[in-house]
Amino acid sequence: MQRPPGTHPVAAASRERPQSRRQHPVLVVDDGGAHAAEIERLLTTMRIPWEPCAPGVGTAEAVRREAACLIAPFAPNDDGARALIETVHRIAPGLAVIVVIDDPDVAATVAAMRLGAHAVIEGKALAAGLLHQVAPLLQND
């Protein structure tokens, strides 16, 4: 079940922070899984504004707005990454898509990158890999 940004406790907390300049938010595809929760926790800790969006149509709607990037967790062997990347590139060309996968092998990583993913992060390496990939994508208005 998708939580609307206004009622999301962590998102609300991130919006309460004073910011001198408005930063485009990071969109997080919130499938209710552990990775989505961890991504949201890390972004909040790093004081990076973020907004959750529902998988599928919710994501397609969300990427029409200005965003720093989109982070999408996927279950192992989930072939939804292709559809997601293609959809995002059609609707919001240029928006970076960061894919989070549990234990991806190199072949799966390369396949996702060739599809147009900006980066692939291992689920278990989120803490180390998230900021490294997201920071260069953050823009201020």
Binding site: P93, D105, V106, V110, H118, A119, I121, A125
Partner: protein, 213 residues
């Protein structure tokens, strides 16, 4: 003058790997040249030579990733297929983010490498053809007079002869003559073809690449 045949450049510090890859690539009728060090390849690298690079990630001295970055610094477009026995996800991501054509983990099947090499050579041929076409268009644009170039810019923006005439302070008939010269010199058979040429030569902004609104 015929274009040189494509060459597969193998860069790997392991002599046995170099030798077997060279044999594999030659077995399908392709030219292959092998180097034991990244620096040796960079010294011999000729950007006019079509081909692709099969590059080991981990090497003494300059690593494969460092060599890729050096090629990027030089503006090289040669496709790079990485091979590694110690690959991990961050390494593959970094290589792909820096423009690697592919990233293959050892041990791999011979056919897997050959497939990737063939695709890399196709990509290189496409890139070179696009460069050549762009250079030809730029040469044609250089042959235009300043006034013809101005007319071309306005025509490809979709402006009518009458409007162009008013903007440039000349008669509609004069614009028509300039326009005819532009079409002839650019060897454009239609306005659509002229617009495509201008886009390819980056004479006008490409609406296909504009950001989302």
């Amino acid at each position: 003058m015929t274009a040189p045949s494509p060459t597969v450049f193998i860069v790997d510090d392991d002599e046995a790997v170099r030798s077997s890859l060279r044999m594999l690539i030659r077995s399908v009728g392709l030219q292959a040249r092998a180097f034991g060090l990244a620096s040796e390849f960079l010294e011999a690298y000729d950007p006019d030579q079509p081909g692709c690079v099969v590059l080991d990630v981990r090497m003494p001295g300059m690593s494969g990733l460092e060599m890729q970055q050096e090629l990027n610094r030089r503006g090289a477009t040669v496709p790079v297929v990485f091979i590694t026995g110690h690959g991990d996800v961050p390494m593959a991501v970094e290589a792909m983010q820096h423009g690697a054509f592919d990233f293959l983990q050892k041990p791999f099947r011979d056919q897997d490498l050959l497939d990737r090499v063939q695709r890399a050579l196709e990509r290189d041929a496409q890139t070179r053809a696009a460069f050549t076409a762009r250079a030809t268009i730029r040469e044609r644009i250089q042959s235009l007079t300043p006034r013809e170039r101005e007319v071309m810019r306005l025509v490809t923006m979709g402006k009518a002869n009458k409007v162009i005439g008013a903007e440039l302070g000349v008669s509609q008939r004069t614009v028509e003559i300039h326009r005819a010269h532009v079409m002839e010199k650019m060897q454009a058979h239609s306005l659509a073809a002229l617009v495509r040429m201008a886009l390819d030569a980056q004479e006008i902004p490409d609406a296909r690449n504009t950001d989302k609104s």
